[in-house]
Amino acid sequence: MSEFADRLEESSEAQVEMCPPVAKLEPAVDPRRMRRIIAEDTQWSLALVPLLRDLCLQSIVKNFEEKPILNELLPHHKTVVLEKLSPNLPLHITANLITDENYWKRCCIQRWGLSDVSTYGYSWKRMFFERHLQKVIELFIPDVTDPQSVLELVPLCKNYVQKLDITQLLPPVKDPQKLEEADGSDSVSEVGFDGPSIDHFDFGILLNKLTKLEELHVVYGVKGCGMNFEWNLFEFTHRDCQALAEALKSCKSLKVFRIHQSKVSDEKCRTLVSKLLDHPSLRHLSFSHNMIGDRGARAIGKLLNNSKLEKLNVCDNKIRGPGARAIAHALCSNTTLISLNLRLNQLGDEGGQAIAEALLYNETLESLHLGANEMTEPTATALSQVLVQNKTLKNINVSCNRLGVDGGKVFEEGMSHNRTLLECDIRLTELLENAISTHEAQVRRSREICIKVSWRKCLSQCNNYRETGDLHQYCVMRVSTSLLSLNRTYTVV
C-alpha cells in the first residue's frame, strides 16, 4: 500500500513538473489563496494538484474509525496520519493501537486544557487513561450507571494506569423520581428505603484487573456539594469497607494506598487492616483525617510487623495512649518502617513516652512526626533519652506540644549529645527563644558532625591504604568515599 503510494508520489511529482500549476479556486473568490507563501500555513503550496499519497493519507485519516491502518504505513506517513487524527476517535480503536505521545497530548489538552505531565511519569498516554478512568469512577452512580461501562475500559487502560486518585465517590440515588438529575448530590433520602445493591462504586470489579496499578487514593465523599449538604453524602458503610478491603487484597501490585476524609472508624480500620496483612507489595499507607481510635491503632500496630510498610501516615485521627502503646510495641521489633506520622492525635504523655521508649530499640525509623499530640514534660524527658541513644533518627517534629521550659532544657541536653539528627521542629512548644536558637545551632552542628564522621571513616580506611603503600588504591578510596559523603550532604540539604 505504502509502496504503491510512494511510486505514485514519484510519478505525480514528475507530472507536476511537467504541468503548469493550476489554481483550484478562482482567484476572485479568495485573493489570499493566490499567494505563493502563507506564513501561518506550512503545508500551503500554490495550486498543485494534490499528491495521490496525500489523498490516500487523507482517506486513511477520514476512515480511521472504520478501518484503522497505522502500523502498516511507512514512518513518515505514520507521523502525518497521527498528526491529522481526531482526538475524538473512540478509545477502543486508539487505546492499544496508538503509542504516539503527541496524539495523546492532543487528546489530553483537548479534554482538560494544559496539564502537568511530570506527575504521570512524563507519559501523556498514561495521563489520559488515568484521568479518564478517574473521571468514570468519580461519576459512577451505584445502580444507575452500568458497571459494564467501567469494565469495558479495563482492557483498554490496564497497561497504562499506574495510579488512581479518586477524589469523590457518589452515593446511590434513593429517589427513583429524581433519577434524571443523575448528580446524586441532590437526591436526598426522604423517600422510602429500597436498599441499593451497593453503597458506592465497588472497587472489587476493577482492582484485580489493573495489573499495573501501584497507587490508589480514595475519598468516600462528594466534592463541592455546596448548600446541598447531607450527611449521607459522606458515608463510608461497612459494605463499602468490606468490598474495598477485598479489592485491595486482590490487587497484588499496589504500593501506595491512601484513604482520607472518609470517616474510617475503628471497625472499618480493622476490616481494612485484616485484608492488608502480608500484602506482597504495599509500602505506603495513609489513613489521614479519619476517625481511627485505639482499637484501630492496635490493628495498625499488628499490620506494621506483618507487612513491608515503609511509610505510615495516621495524622488527624483519634488515637490515644493505649493505641500509641500498641504502635510503639510494634515499632520495637519493626525493621522496615522509615517514616511515621502521628500528627493531630491525642497520644498524650502515655503515648509519647511509649513511642520514645520504642525508639530506643528501633533502628530503622528516620522520620517521626508527633506534632499536636497533647504531650508535656515527661515526653520531652523520654525523647531526650532517645536523642542520646538513637542513631538513625534524622527528622523529628514535636511542634504544638506543651513541652514547657523544663522539658525544653532536658530536650536541649539530649540534643547536645546527638550526632545524627538533621532536623528538629520545636515550634509552639513553649520553649524559650534562646533555647530554640540553641537548638537550631545544635541541629546545624550535628549535621556538620555527621559529615565529619563520614570523613573520619573514609580517612581511617585511606590511612590503612597509605600504610600498606598502595597509593593508587588510596587515591581511589579517597575519591570514591568522598562521593558518598557528598551524596549524603546532598540529601541533607
Binding site: L344, N463, S482, L486
Partner: protein, 561 residues
C-alpha cells in the same frame, strides 16, 4: 592557594595535575593525614577562604580543584579559582540562598503549625464544653426527674381528693408544677440553642480564618517563590559574571597567545617566503637549462624520426611493389591451381580406373596366394621330415663326441703325465743347479724351497677327465686356470730373486771368465815369450860364439827381455 583536602571526584584531567571535583576540605580536621593546614593565622585570607569553601561545601557546591601530591605523601587540592572577589560574593550569596530557602519554608510551615495548634486548642475547648454540657444536662435531668415524680405523686393525691375545690387546687398546683418543668426544659433548650448558635458563629469564624490562612499561605508561597526566583536570578547573574570574567580572562590570554603565535607564524611565513623565492629563482634557472636541453633533444629526436619516416616510406613503397608482385604471383598461382584442379579431376578418374584394375589384380593375387599356401604347407611337411632326420643325425654325433671326449681325456692324461714327469725332472735339475750354485759358487747354505705340487694328488686328472666328460665348459676353464697356475708354479720354482742372483752371478762369472781368459792369453804369451827368450838365448850364444869369428848381430830381443 593550597587547599588540603580529603576527597574529590575525578572530573577531568589535564594541565599540571589531575582536575577533580572537590568533595570536602579537610584542613580543619584533626584527622587530616599528614597535610598540615597551610596557614595558622586565623585572620589570614586563607583561613577566611577556607571557611567560605567549607560553607560552600556544606551547601553542596561542587568546586573545581587540582589534586597534587604533597611532599609527605598526602594529597593536596589546589582550588582553581582566580577571581577572589566574585568567588567570595558567590559564596556569600549561596549561603544567603540556603538561609532564604530555609526561612521561607519555615514561614510557610509556620501557618500550618499555627493552624494545628489552634485545632488542638479548639478540640480541647470542645471537649471541655461537651463535658460541661453533659454535666449540666445530667443535673437538669435529675432535677426534672424529681419534679416529674412530684407531679406523678400529685396525680395520686389529686385522685384521692373528692371535693371539687380541693381537686381544683390540686390540679392547679399540678399545672403549676408542669409549667415549671416545661419552663425549665424550655430554658435548657434555649441555652442549648444559644450554644449551638455561638458554635455556628465560631464555625463560620473558623471557616473565615481558614480561608484567610489559605490565602496567607498562598501569599507567603508566592512571596517565597518571588524571593527565591529573585535571588536565583541574582545568583545566576553573578555566576554569569564570574563565568564571563573567566571567559574574558581566558579570551584575552588566548588572544595574547594567539597574537604571539600569529606573529611567530608571520615571521616564519616571511622566512619561508624568502626561502621560497630563492628557491624559485634557482628552479627557474634549472628549468631554463632543462628546457634548452629538452629542446635540443627534441630536435635531435625529430630529425631522427623524420629520417625514420622517410625510410619507412621507402619501405612502404617497396612493400607496395612486392605486394603488387605477390598479387600477380598469386593470381598466376590461382590460375595454375585451377588448372591443377582440372588435372586432378582427370587424374582422379584415372585413379578410379586404376583402382578397378588393381582390384582385379588383387583378386588374382588372392588366388595365387592360396596356391602358394598349399605349396608351402607341402614344403613344411617335407621340412618336418628333414628335421627329424637331422635330429637323429645329431644324436649320433653326440654319441660320437662322447666317445671322443673319453679318448681325448685319456690322451690328455697321458700327455699330462708325460709333461709332468718331464717338468719334474727339469725342476729337480734346476733345484740341483741352484743347490750347486749356492753351495759351490756362493758358498751359502741351500734351503730347499717348498714343493707342494710335486706331491700333487693323482685325482686331479681323474677329476679333470670327469669334468671333461660332463662338458662343463665353465668348470673346465677353471680347471684350465688351475692347471695354468700349476704349470706356472712349476715354471717359477726358481724365484725372481734367485734368478737375479743367478744373473748377477752369471755376470760375475762372465767377468771372472773374461779375466781368466785374459790370464790364459797372457799365460800363452808368456809361454811364447819364454820360448822366444829361449831361442834368443840360443841365438845369442850362437852370436857370441860367431863374434869371435865376425861382427856381433843386433841383439834386440835380448834388450826386449
Amino acid at each position: 592557594m593550597w587547599w588540603c583536602s580529603g576527597f574529590g571526584l575525578c572530573l577531568f584531567s589535564g594541565g599540571s595535575g589531575v582536575r577533580v571535583l572537590l568533595g570536602v576540605p579537610c584542613s580543619g580536621l584533626a584527622s587530616c593525614p599528614g597535610c598540615a593546614p597551610v596557614c595558622h593565622d586565623p585572620s589570614s585570607k586563607e583561613v577566611g577562604y577556607a571557611l567560605l569553601i567549607y560553607q560552600l561545601l556544606c551547601a553542596c557546591v561542587p568546586l573545581v580543584v587540582q589534586m597534587q601530591m604533597c611532599v609527605n605523601g598526602g594529597l593536596r587540592f589546589v582550588l582553581c579559582c582566580e577571581h577572589d572577589a566574585h568567588f567570595v560574593k558567590l559564596a556569600v550569596l549561596l549561603q544567603r540562598m540556603t538561609k532564604l530557602r530555609k526561612d521561607g519554608t519555615e514561614l510557610v510551615t509556620n501557618i500550618q503549625v499555627a493552624a494545628d495548634f489552634r485545632e488542638t486548642q479548639r478540640r480541647a475547648q470542645q471537649k471541655e464544653a461537651t463535658r460541661h454540657r453533659l454535666e449540666k444536662l445530667e443535673i437538669q435531668a435529675n432535677g426534672s426527674l424529681e419534679k416529674f415524680e412530684e407531679i406523678s405523686k400529685g396525680w395520686d393525691t389529686a385522685m384521692q381528693k373528692n371535693f371539687t375545690r380541693e381537686l381544683q387546687e390540686a390540679l392547679d398546683s399540678q399545672q403549676q408544677l408542669c409549667t415549671l418543668l416545661l419552663e425549665d426544659k424550655d430554658k435548657l433548650i434555649n441555652d442549648l440553642q444559644q450554644e449551638l448558635k455561638t458554635n455556628y458563629d465560631q464555625y463560620k469564624k473558623d471557616l473565615k480564618k481558614q480561608a484567610q490562612d489559605v490565602e496567607l499561605l498562598v501569599e507567603k508561597m508566592d512571596e517565597q517563590i518571588k524571593n527565591l526566583s529573585k535571588s536565583y536570578r541574582k545568583e545566576l547573574d553573578l555566576i554569569e559574571t564570574v563565568f564571563d570574567q573567566d571567559r574574558n580572562a581566558l579570551l584575552s590570554s588566548n588572544r595574547k597567545k594567539w597574537e604571539q603565535m600569529a606573529k611567530e607564524r608571520y615571521d616564519k611565513e616571511l622566512q619561508y617566503l624568502l626561502q621560497r623565492m630563492k628557491k624559485v629563482e634557482e628552479y627557474e634557472v634549472l628549468l631554463q637549462q632543462l628546457r634548452i636541453e629538452d629542446a635540443e633533444e627534441y630536435n635531435k629526436i625529430k630529425i631522427k624520426l623524420d629520417t625514420d619516416v622517410q625510410i619507412l616510406k621507402q619501405e612502404l613503397k617497396q612493400l607496395k611493389v612486392t605486394l603488387q608482385q605477390n598479387q600477380e604471383k598469386l593470381e598466376y598461382n590461382f590460375q595454375v591451381l585451377k588448372k591443377r584442379e582440372e588435372e586432378n579431376t582427370i587424374t582422379k578418374c584415372q585413379q578410379k580406373r586404376k583402382i578397378n584394375r588393381l582390384q582385379d589384380i588383387k583378386n588374382n593375387l588372392k588366388i595365387r596366394c592360396e596356391k602358394q599356401g598349399k605349396q608351402s604347407r607341402e614344403e613344411y611337411k617335407a621340412l618336418g621330415d628333414d628335421y627329424k632326420r637331422i635330429m637323429q643325425e645329431y644324436e649320433d654325433m653326440q654319441k660320437k663326441m662322447r666317445h671322443f671326449v673319453t679318448t681325448d681325456a685319456r690322451t690328455f692324461k697321458d700327455i699330462w703325465l708325460m709333461n709332468e714327469s718331464e717338468v719334474k725332472e727339469l725342476v729337480e735339475r734346476a733345484l740341483q743347479t741352484d743347490r750347486l750354485v749356492h753351495e759351490q759358487q756362493l758358498a751359502m747354505p741351500w734351503v730347499q724351497p717348498p714343493l707342494p705340487f710335486l706331491e700333487g694328488d693323482p685325482t686331479r686328472f681323474h677329476g679333470y677327465s670327469q669334468r671333461a666328460s660332463r662338458k662343463k665348459l665353465l668348470k673346465s676353464t677353471r680347471d684350465d686356470a688351475e692347471a695354468a697356475a700349476y704349470w706356472e708354479a712349476m715354471a717359477n720354482i726358481i724365484p725372481e730373486s734367485k734368478l737375479q742372483i743367478w744373473s748377477a752371478l752369471e755376470m760375475a762369472l762372465e767377468k771372472y771368465y773374461i779375466a781368466l781368459n785374459d790370464r790364459s792369453k797372457l799365460l800363452v804369451e808368456t809361454q811364447s815369450l819364454q820360448k822366444q827368450n829361449m831361442e834368443l838365448k840360443i841365438l845369442l850364444q850362437q852370436c857370441i860364439s860367431s863374434k869371435v869369428r865376425g861382427r856381433p848381430s843386433p841383439t834386440v830381443g835380448v834388450n826386449a827381455v
